[in-house]
Symmetry: C2
Subunit: 272 residues, 2 copies
């Protein structure tokens, strides 16, 4: 992979940069895709940001993130659905075709109850998502996040849930960080694509050793994820969308972001 | 669960206590089972420790832990097998009927290669294990340990591997900490028992939030693992062995160990 046409960066990857800076830096580096975290939109008008990104020559790949549907308290579940409707409106204003869902989990109830509430939450969002023309992407999260972040922890579960939603509007986001360990990964990538639900592909690496549950991800090629192998599975399944670099890293966020961006691009060319 | 006949503690749970102290404290508290970590045997004769535990009225449930078979370097794989043979001899000297295997993983190679080497390592140990009358228990580890600790990350994989070993000497260790999130858990517990391979059952809880990858486990009932539900699955499958409390916790190791032991026993009575 030595060209950048399908390279997308998440704004969180270079978190210290405001989105206006990130947009200029990404484009100057030859990047054409950007996935926008909602945090990057604080105190901004999403339509204006969408126009700015378009003028900069960037394609908005997704808005990150909606979800967090489960809660033992029904009022809080309704609040979550309202929050997600606002996220869908933001996505539409940004011209983002996809809202990425981190589905959520409530440790005070069973995973099965959380999964049921995730299904219900997605069903409640579907009419709004369809009206706005924004797709919903279920991102299965690593099992180490099953306590509070997601009760959907394998690609099989995400595929099942997306299938159950019964709408072309609902698909799946494959992130190597969460799924690399899964012995069923190749099979479920194929199934996801056959269902027409392989909506997005996120890349980074698993640092050895990892010291923080959230913010210790690695640049591609520096950890133990067999990234080029997984990319080949995804491409063989027919996916030809953006490869989205999503790195949370307390370490890299403290370094010079221009240098870090250069390293990401080199890593993308040689290790993705 | 309000009786203690099937309660076993791992020596690592009360790590600050030397094994001689742990033995007296466990027995005084009414505990009858002990699983011995190899670290607790340093500078000691395993036969003498075995006699001491027996005199104290404790049944040795297992020796923890062998394994760590994979390595890209064949010499180091041979060393690992030698190490495991010594562990089996220690287990026999202690009168431990089971050696728990944390299978290992080498992040410099694929998980498939590591799994192949785990299979080969177990096959190489089998004759010694049979001669000594010590069983081998494959413990699947949480996927967050797939980088360096184990390429066996689900109960299905452990069952498959134990079945492939083709010997009654090889079975599986079910630890709720590693497996609670798995949607196939009930099914694979049943399968494990039907195969005659459900050798051991480890309990603790998943702390919310967990801040350390290794040593931040919780006492039963204080986290989010549906422990009584999993215990019922294990018992319904026919398991009637010890419930082994295996807690690694920098927090609890810094507290008064007598008080901590009391809390473990209360938790076992009410939340297991």
């Amino acid at each position: 992979m030595d060209h950048l046409e399908k390279l997308c960066l998440h704004t969180i990857t270079t978190k210290p940069w405001p989105i206006e800076t990130a947009a200029k830096k990404f484009r100057a580096a030859g990047i054409t895709g950007i996935s926008v975290w909602r945090e990057a939109l604080i105190d901004r008008n999403p339509s204006h940001v969408g126009s700015l990104l378009k003028e900069e020559g960037l394609e908005v790949v997704s808005l990150v993130r909606g979800g967090f549907f489960p809660d033992r308290d029904a009022n809080r579940r309704r609040d979550a659905i309202d929050q997600n409707k606002r996220a869908l409106e933001e996505a539409a204003a940004l011209s983002a075709p996809l809202l990425v869902l981190v589905c959520g989990a409530d440790p005070r109830q069973s995973l099965e109850d959380s999964r049921k509430q995730i299904h219900e939450g997605i069903a409640a969002l579907l009419p709004v998502a369809s009206d706005l023309g924004v797709k919903l992407g279920i991102e299965p999260l690593h099992p180490m996040y099953a306590d509070t972040r997601s009760a959907i922890n394998t690609l099989k579960q995400a595929n099942d849930l997306a299938e159950k939603a019964g709408s072309d509007q609902v698909g799946v986001v494959v992130d190597v960080y969460h799924l690399w360990w899964d012995p069923d990964l190749e099979k479920e990538i194929q199934r996801c694509a056959q269902l027409g639900k392989l909506f997005a592909f996120h890349i980074c690496d698993w640092k050895v050793p990892t010291n923080d549950f959230l913010n210790d991800r690695e640049i591609m090629g520096r950890g133990c994820i067999p990234l080029s192998r997984i990319r080949k599975w995804v491409e063989a399944a027919g996916f030809n969308g953006y490869k989205e670099v999503e790195i949370f890293s307390n370490h890299y966020w403290q370094t010079d972001q221009d240098q870090y961006l250069k390293e990401i691009i080199e890593a993308y060319k040689h290790n993705s």
